[in-house]
């Protein structure tokens, strides 16, 4: 009663699809003629709080469904109103209403970003609209160079991010050079990005979760587009209970340039993303996804004999079932394949192949004040990592790890003031390595002890949210996380490497504990300001050992130690109206600590500041801009030099050579990074469809951001040379939709 007096009564209920009785996510429910309303959350429930007494017209509105209204009277008590919406054909496929109010009032997960397709389409592009380039500008995320889209989240390395496509893991889903990720925006429905404190249904990673959900077709159509980089096309359609989307993209320089010049362009990539949906019964839906990407760089025998490529393949089937009014379940079965290969003539060959076979099942019970979730998952993995760089390093690591986990979580909202989510996850990691490690010196095959690693303690995940006012909330999260694989990531490597290996031999699973505090304010128009200090403590953290002893690679390919990452994320966003965009600021510290050394990681970027904006000028014109300022990254550089004298026994004379003195690991810093990108687009609408022309300029003022330094020791004094990142780069693109 006290709560009702303080905040007014609430209007709440659940919204289902009329035909399937599926909960509707993101349906706008509001009181006509007022500023009061809320979208539904993923289980279909909504709650409009602080409603004064009176008579109202309650409106249920969602794109793709018929809008309905209901007359209600609100008194001292809370009012429950449920609704079922009938489907309605619309012209905009796959657009999701931004459920910002629901996210604020009903979601307790901290550090969460939900990005829909519309927001992605309006963000500034560099050659093409890209999801990862957008993520790099969010609070808590930083980058190491223009040449990789790898995400460094809150002091964590890129291999600590769990990247999922329709709940199946992907490895390195971005292209060479870092211009693009492998996700085509039109095949994506929405993205959930959790930068810390993620719930119990996610595991085997330490830092973040990026869950990309494929789009579903609502009607028939398609498009074709072309930029300076690639050509992309898509078709989608619906027939009865079946629907599907097929999207493909490929670079074209390797095909066109040889027709014009006597030159073989050495690089290409392609992406394929196909999704099918079958609504088998009103309560049963089956979805299938096929995803394939491939990068290939082949400089041929005449130039530098370098061959480099990597690719992902993923095939999955998903079954969603409504078991009763409250219970629903989902089952995922999938195969994820990743391969990377590097060859430099006969000197070096390195390859990595990963196959994941995964089965997951999850049961969810939705109640008005609580959601209970429990599930199991099992993954059988094949890891084959080979390096052949004779006579320096030659080894094979061929493992068959098995990963299993069970989890349960419970979300509870006892009153409008408080939200609590408690989860626990138990995982099992069994690493089997039959005689497959080849000794680099002797060539003998040896085995590694079979390990059965039960996570020594359960992974607890707790998060809570407390509403100070209807628009202000404090939240917090604590959780511990385990990870059983790592990427070979050379320190200071500004160019992406793509080789993963599972935890094996003497190494223990990596572990992290997150502590997050946050404050959030939601404005009336859905804009949000958020401040989140965080602290992460790592145990058994793996850092690639660049001075690996090749005679004992299984024992020292990694250094294992502790780590600390802490900082503050600040974000202000505005996602509605003519002017949209966000401002983000990240203060971050990241340290690695072992028995022999303590140093800042190579991605310890102290300050990252981004302004991303888009403005609707009307009549189909849009302009956008993105500005990034980031303080310098650490690197292991050269401080001094000294003469190393020696006696030349051939010439019988003293000689010397200059030796360099290196700074302590990551002790030096590059200059700050800053860059401005701008773009403009014009859309024409015709009877048969629409056409959009887009122009972008990357690095407008041509700032030479430093990628790396090297010294020319033949000069006196030695000359410091630098390699810069992307210079000013204009691009054009055209898209036709029908």
């Amino acid at each position: 009663m006290i709560i009702t007096v303080l905040f007014g009564a609430s209007v709440h209920g659940r919204v289902l699809a009329d035909k399937t009785e599926d909960p509707l996510f993101g349906c706008n429910v509001y009181l006509e003629g007022t500023q009061l309303g809320a979208p539904t959350e993923s289980n279909g429930y909504y709650r409009i709080t602080n409603v004064p007494r009176g008579n109202y017209t309650l409106v249920f509105s969602m794109i793709g469904f018929q809008t309905i209204t209901k007359e209600i009277t609100v008194g001292e008590d809370n009012v429950r109103v449920d609704a079922s919406l009938k489907t309605e054909a619309v012209d905009v496929p796959g657009v999701v209403v931004n459920p910002r109010r629901t996210e604020f009032t009903e979601e307790v997960t901290t550090s969460a970003f939900r990005i829909d397709k519309e927001l992605m389409m309006r963000s500034p592009a560099m050659l093409e609209t890209d999801l990862f380039r957008m993520l790099l500008a969010l609070p808590g995320v930083t980058f190491v160079s223009d040449f990789t889209s790898a995400l460094y989240v809150r002091g964590g390395s890129p291999d600590q991010n769990l990247i999922l496509l329709d709940n199946m893991a992907l490895y390195n889903p971005f292209h060479f050079g870092g211009f693009l990720s492998t996700f085509m925006v039109d095949a994506v429905n929405d993205v959930e990005f959790l930068t810390g404190g993620f719930p119990a249904e996610y595991g085997n990673r330490l830092s973040s979760v990026l869950n990309v959900r494929s789009a579903a077709a609502e009607h028939s159509g398609g498009y074709i587009s072309s930029s300076l980089l690639a050509t992309e096309g898509a078709l989608w359609g619906r027939a009865g209970d079946f629907s599907g989307i097929l999207t493909a993209r490929r670079t074209y320089f390797d095909k066109i340039i040889p027709l014009i010049f006597d030159f073989e362009f050495p690089y290409h990539f392609y992406d394929i993303h196909a999704v099918g949906t079958w609504e088998a019964t009103p309560k049963t839906r089956i979805e299938a996804t096929y995803f394939r990407t491939q990068d290939r760089l082949d400089l041929g025998e005449e130039n530098i004999p370098l061959e480099f490529g990597w690719g992902n393949q993923l095939a999955s089937v998903r079954l969603f079932q409504g078991m009763s009014e409250d219970w629903r379940c989902a089952t995922w079965l999938g195969w994820s394949h990743y391969t990377a290969h590097l060859a430099l003539s006969d000197f070096l060959e390195e390859s990595d192949t990963i196959d994941d076979f995964t089965l997951k099942a999850e049961f969810v019970r939705d109640r008005e004040a609580s959601t209970t979730r429990f599930g199991v998952e099992g993954t059988y993995m094949k890891f084959i990592y080979k390096t052949d760089a004779e006579p320096f390093a030659t080894y094979d690591i061929d493992g068959r790890p098995e990963y299993g986990a069970a989890y349960a979580s419970w979300k509870w909202k006892p009153n409008p003031l408080f939200l609590l989510q408690v989860g626990v996850r138990f995982s099992l990691y069994n690493a089997v390595y039959p005689d497959t490690l080849r000794d680099s010196l002797t060539g003998d095959m040896t085995g590694i002890d079979t390990l059965a690693l039960l996570a020594p303690e359960p992974e607890l995940r707790v998060s809570a949210k407390y509403f100070v006012t209807p628009d202000d909330a404090f939240n917090c999260a604590v959780g511990n996380f385990y990870q059983n694989l790592a990427m070979i990531l050379p320190e200071g490597g500004r160019i992406p490497t793509n080789f993963w290996i599972p935890v094996f031999g003497r190494y223990d699973p990596q572990q992290a504990i997150h502590f997050i505090l946050g404050y959030e304010h939601l404005f009336a128009d859905g804009s949000r300001i958020r401040v989140e200090p965080y602290y992460k403590h790592y145990f058994n953290l793996l850092a690639f050992n660049e001075e690996v002893d090749i005679s004992d690679v299984d024992e020292n390919i990694f250094s294992q130690g502790r780590g600390r990452a802490w900082g503050v994320d600040f974000g202000l966003d505005k996602l509605t109206g003519k002017l949209t965009g966000w401002i983000s600021y990240t203060l971050a510290f990241s340290r690695f600590i072992s028995d022999t050394a303590e140093f800042y990681t190579s991605f310890d970027r102290r300050h990252s500041f981004n302004v991303v904006s888009s403005y609707d000028l009307g009549k189909g014109w849009f302009v956008n801009a993105k500005f990034t300022f980031a303080s310098g990254m650490p690197y292991a550089g050269t401080l001094g030099r000294y003469r190393m004298w020696y006696w030349d026994p051939i010439r019988q004379e003293w000689r010397y050579q200059w030796m360099t003195i290196e700074a302590d690991r990551n002790e030096l810093r590059f200059p700050p990074y800053h860059r401005l990108d701008i773009g403009a687009s014009k859309k024409w609408v015709f009877k048969w469809g629409e056409m959009t022309v887009r122009a972008d300029v990357v690095n407008v003022y041509n700032h030479k951001n430093v990628l790396l330094y090297y010294y020319d020791m033949s000069n006196e004094p030695p000359v410091q040379n630098k390699v810069s990142m992307i210079p000013i780069f204009p691009s054009l693109g055209i898209e036709v939709r029908f």
């Binding site: 404050y519 203060l587 001094g640 004298w645 006696w647 051939i650 700074a663």
Partner: protein, 269 residues
């Protein structure tokens, strides 16, 4: 309320702005004291040379290399040998300086393979560098004999063997065979036979093993065998990377020894 909310943020921002202090370069001492031991009984002129130097900032132009005015001593048992950077020129009747950073023996040390020698270098500013090492034994080639004519075939199954006495305090041996020509003519006769690193306690090597000479000239060659002390072999990089700072306390550099012997051989093609 807002002040309470934002005061921790301001504190953290201040902390972040303090940033990371870039390290400033500070010169370190750098000494190379490689004693050369040969089978010649006595040297008239200063023979041993110690380099006293320092490290330099990578971006600085270095006009003067080396350090003058240091006190350099090697102690072996009760013997103390001083190394000096100037000498009295009896022709000009005045003191003259050696090249910057060059310190020559005065008097000439008589080194043996049983004494532990200690090096001490005191820089003008007071920095002190110390090190200690045993010296290799004097080496002597026992076969072939001096001025012997030998015939080499690339296909021989029973190759010529070079032998010498096994040396104490030695980790590597190097065998070099070069045409006996003036230094200025070296480049006209590449490459040399060069066996750079035979590790361990050994006293022989096969002549054409590791031979890189594709042909031989009908002429005299100098065949040289060099024994390297463990300290020098490590400093020279023969034991792998990561140890090039040397074995001295207080700075970069090395204190160790090499032992050399050479003969002339006439190689018949």
């Amino acid at each position: 309320m807002k002040r309470i909310l934002f005061s921790p943020l301001v504190f953290l921002l201040t902390l972040g702005c303090s940033g990371v202090q870039e390290p400033e370069f500070e010169p370190e001492t750098n000494v190379l004291a490689l004693m050369r031991i040969d089978n010649r009984p006595e040297h008239i002129y200063p023979w041993q040379l110690i380099y006293v130097d320092q490290s330099y900032d990578i971006q600085d132009t270095v006009n003067v290399l080396g350090v003058r005015g240091a006190r350099v001593e090697i102690t072996g048992g009760e013997d103390v040998y001083t190394f000096v950077d100037s000498f009295y020129n009896e022709d000009s009747l005045r003191w003259e300086k050696y090249a910057e950073g060059h310190y020559y023996d005065w008097p000439h040390p008589k080194l043996n393979d049983t004494t532990l020698y200690r090096l001490q270098v005191i820089y003008p500013d007071g920095d002190t560098v110390t090190g200690e090492a045993y010296m290799p034994s004097a080496i002597e080639i026992s076969y072939p004999e001096d001025s012997q004519a030998i015939s080499i075939s690339q296909q021989v199954t029973n190759p010529l063997t070079i032998t010498w006495n096994s040396c104490k305090n030695t980790l590597y041996y190097m065998i070099i065979c070069k045409p006996d020509v003036d230094t200025s003519e070296y480049d006209s006769y590449p490459p040399f036979l060069f066996m750079p690193a035979i590790r361990g306690d050994t006293s022989y090597a096969y002549f054409q093993e590791r031979m890189i000479l594709p042909w031989v000239y009908d002429m005299y060659y100098v065949l040289r065998v060099v024994a390297l002390s463990p300290e020098y072999a490590d400093y020279f990089g023969l034991e792998g990377p990561g140890s090039d700072m040397g074995n001295l306390s207080g700075g970069y550099g090395m204190f160790g020894g090499i032992s050399e012997d050479s003969i002339r051989v006439y190689i018949v093609p």
